[in-house]
Structure formats: C-alpha cells, structure tokens
C-alpha cells in the first residue's frame, strides 16, 4: 500500500507540466475531441453523415407521393419537382428562366444587404467608440429597430414606386439593425484589462481602437453579419411577393395564379439554397477572421 503510493509520486509530479497548454496538446485542441478526423477515409464518411437524414426525408416524401397519400395537387413529388426545375431552367415561365429570376433576386438581396451592412458599420463605430456618438445615434436606432420594417412596404412603394428601389431599400433597412446592435455591443464590451495593458504600452487612442477594440469586436460583428444576412433574405422574400416584375418572388406569384405548387416549391428551395450559400460564405470569412479563437 505505502510502497505503491511512493512509486506514484514521480508520475504525479510529471503531470504538473507547466508547458502543457490550457486547452490540451500544443497543436490543435479540436483534434482531441474528434481524433477520427485525421484519417481521410473516415473524414469522407463523416462529411456525408449529416446528409443522411435530409435524404431520408426526401425519400419519405417521394414514397408518400407515389403511394397517393400526398396528392400532386397539394404538393408535387420530388420527381415532379425535379422535372419542373429542368423546364424552368431550359424554357422558363412567362418569358424568364429560373437562372434569370435567381440572379435578379440575389442581386436585390446582396445589394440591399451591402448597403445595410455599410450603414450599420458607419453608425456603430461612433455609437460604440464615443459617448457623444452613442447619445446621438443610439436612441433613434433603438426606436427604429422596434419598427416592424415589413410594415414599411406600402410607404416605400408610395415613395419609390414598384421598381427595384423599394425592395433594395427595404432589405437594407432590415439588415442594418442586427449588425449595428452586435457591433456596438462588441465595441463596448471590449476587455478592459487588455485595453489597460495597451494603455500601459503607451498605445495611442487610434492604435488602441485599431489593435484592441475592433479586433475584439469581431466575434460579435460576425454574429451580427449572419443575423443581418438572414433578415436580408426574409425581407426580400416578402418584398418580392408584394410587387415585382421579375425575380423568384414574381415566379412564385405567377405560379400561385395558375395553381402550380411545384413551381412554388422550386422558388422556396432556391431561397433556401441561396440562404445556405451566403451563410456558408460568412462562416468561411468567420473562420479566417476568428482563426485566433481555435
């Protein structure tokens, strides 16, 4: 008993390794959680794994349609919808193909989002960095964000007519707030201890903003960016369906007139894919910008 405790002493001392990183081994702490990822064969298998359940749902849908449980007049089957996609791509509907409509919608969303994001950054910097800026900018922003922006559609149509402008303006308006709010929170929530260390290194105010405040706000900014993007797509979908001469929304409205539920589903799937794609892009940016968090 006592001899075993003695032999354990050196091993116990070895555990206290001052150079052992807090998160685990020095290379990549994520590897510890998922060691199988290092093997390439296992990696491919794992990459496919998340697709299994959506695929199963699709098969179930098709089965229900084929068995007649799900009427084609209620919801078209996946096979029918695949055919519809082919027709929409090659022939189009009422003079415009699926690609053209997708491009128009994507342009509206991205342009509106870009304007909104730029506006959010321009407003959040003074509101986050200076007390005076916060006093001037924050109260109206807090009021406007409570305004249900989709309710502005009639007003925007009144002001800007039925062209591209009201849709882009509405998307921009909607996507300002998530990014603005997150960015202001990120800037104000900067780690005071790190900021103080920067002061002790005699960094100027601008240098502190450049090296401490803005990078420190990036995690929040990325969250805001993704939320803004989500709002941008949602706003676009609603705005397009109220009044549009082109785009996915117009295609869906036309399909409703002629009871083509397959075309409506295609439109929705396109929205979904566009949303997933842009979200994946932001996540890619996030991985690079926040590489230090790994």
């Amino acid at each position: 008993m006592s001899s075993s405790t003695i032999t354990e002493v050196p091993a116990a001392a070895g555990i206290v390794d001052p150079d052992l990183p807090r998160g685990g081994p020095p290379t990549d702490p994520l590897r510890v959680a998922a060691p199988a990822r290092s093997r390439s064969a296992g990696r491919v298998g794992r990459a496919l794994l998340p697709w299994l359940s959506p695929l199963a749902l699709l098969v179930l849908w098709q089965a229900l349609s084929s068995l007649g449980v799900l009427q084609e007049s209620t919801l078209a089957s996946p096979v029918t919808i695949a055919g519809t996609v082919r027709d929409l791509v090659t022939q189009g509907l009422f003079g415009s193909t699926l690609q053209q409509n997708t491009l128009v919608s994507a342009q509206r969303a991205l342009l509106g989002f870009a304007i909104g994001a730029a506006l959010a950054i321009v407003l959040a910097l003074p509101a986050g960095l200076s007390a005076a800026g916060a006093l001037v900018i924050d109260p109206p922003m807090q009021m406007l964000r409570m305004l249900p922006h989709l309710g502005l559609i009639p007003l925007f149509i009144l002001w800007m007519g039925l062209g591209e402008q009201p849709k882009i303006a509405l998307v921009a308006f909607g996507s300002v707030f998530p990014l603005y709010l997150n960015l202001v929170a990120g800037i104000r929530g900067v780690d005071r201890k790190i900021a103080e260390a920067a002061t002790s290194m005699r960094l100027s105010r601008w240098q502190r903003i450049r090296y401490v405040v803005l990078p420190g706000a990036m995690p929040h900014a990325m969250t805001g960016l993704r939320q803004s993007l989500g709002v941008a797509w949602l706003t676009l979908i609603v705005a397009e369906q109220i009044a549009a001469d082109r785009g996915i929304g117009k295609m869906i409205m036309d399909a409703r007139e002629f009871l083509m539920n397959d075309v409506i589903v295609v439109g929705l799937v396109v929205y979904m894919l566009l949303g997933l794609l842009t979200d994946a892009l932001v996540r890619l940016v996030e991985r690079r910008v926040l590489a230090w968090r790994a």
Binding site: P18, D19, R22, P26, A197, A198, R202
Partner: protein, 286 residues
Amino acid sequence: MARLSTPAAPRTSVTADSGPHPDAPVGPVAVVASHRRRFGEREVLRGIDLSIAPGELVALLGRSGCGKSTLLRGLAGLDDVPREEVRVTGRTAVAFQEPRLLPWQRVQRNVELALLAEGDRRDRARRATAALAEVGLAERCDAWPLHLSGGQAQRVSLARALVVEPELLLLDEPFSALDALTRIEMHQLVIELWRKHRMAILLVTHDVDEALALADRVVVLDQGLISYEWRTELPRTERSPERPEVAAARADILHALGVRPLPPNPDRDPVTGRLPHPTNPTRSNR
C-alpha cells in the same frame, strides 16, 4: 523590531548581487512622496513615501485591498496621479497578474505592439524576436496566445514588458495565478533577466516567501501605509528560511501583515514532544 519606514534615501541600495548598471542615471528611477489616493469615502493610500533606485529589486507586500496595486497603477501611469507625489524618470513597463495578451495577434506581434511608438518595422520585429528568445519562447513566435499554457503566456507578457528596455519594471502579482513549479521557474527567469538588464523592479505580491527570495528590499503596505521595511544583502542562493535572519525577517513581516503564529499543540508532551495517542494509523507501515 518592526521599523517604521522613513522616506528612503535613494543611493543606499547597493546590495550583494545587484547594483545599478554603470550607465544608469544616478538618481532614483521613481520617487513617491506623501502619496495619497482616495476612492469615495475610502482612503486607499494614506501618505506613501517610497524611493526606488536604479537596478533595485523591491517587493511590495500586502494583503488584498491594502492599496499595493493602486500604488503600482500610479507608477505605471495607468491612473492620473499628481506629478509631485509620484515622479518616475525613465521608461516603465508593466506585467500584470493575467498575461493580458491580445488573443487576436500572434505571440510575436503581441510583443512588437509594445514597440509601436518607436523604430521601424524591421527593428521592432528583431527586438521582439530577441525578447521572446530571452524568455525561452523563440519557437512559439507564430502561436496564438490562446494556444499557450499559463506559464508560457506569462512569459510572453514578460517579454512584452522587457522589449521596451524599461528602467522600471512593474510586476503586479505576475506569478500568483501559476502553479507552484511554474512559479519557481518564473522566479528564476525574472532574476536572470534582472541580472542581465539591471532595470529596477517593483514586484507587487502577497507571497511573503516570494518577496524574501527575490527582493533586495521588502516593503510592507498595510491599510494604506508602509508599516515595515526590510533590506538584505544576502545572496539569493543563501536565503533559506532556516537562516536566522531570514526567519526573523519572515516573522517580522508576517507580524506587520497581522498574521499571528500558530500556538503549539497543547496536547503535545512538552518533554518528549509526543502526542498522547497515535493519531496517524499509517505510521506503523513506515
């Protein structure tokens, strides 16, 4: 026994294995005179007099909330203090209890940032690399701070303070969050660096043994006043706690801090030193 401090004369700190750098300025690097600080109702510093000579290693000891960090912040220029009360000549640098590295900059850049106000880019990079090599982390230049161990991060913090070649290095309990073995290594590293660079160091700590092991002068701060001062010229290698003068100083310092010694066990037989009953069942196994 506990000698109340008088404003320390600046040029009296020549000690056994320290001493100012030959090129260093002759006057003190920092003079604190009748320094008072008050936060609302509470007076945190109630008239502090302290002078730090070039190349001197001073430990500032005190309980939590005794005002020692406040004093350090004044010296570091982190708080606005009257210039006639806190005068610092030459450059200061601070290492805090937490490493306080910028997590979004790699280790090398973290050290370079301390030099942002001076030199060109290449010079900054060269000096940062040299400082990291001095603390033994040359190979971790490209690491992210969050991938470092606690001890490594604290060494980077030390390199960041050293890279500006300060005349006064302020250490605010920089070892207290480290495990015991890492702390010993850090002590050795600080002494090595201090011997090489000969800057003055003010080490704020609440660890009496750390202060005794490292400092030329131990200053005890209690309720906003300096209550005790101890100087030694003993080489650091000969400061074992068994040494009578070290043991006496330790007792005095603990007394100044208000820590009373543990009374002897009244159950113990005064002649044999034995306890009345065998209370340790594993004793028979040995």
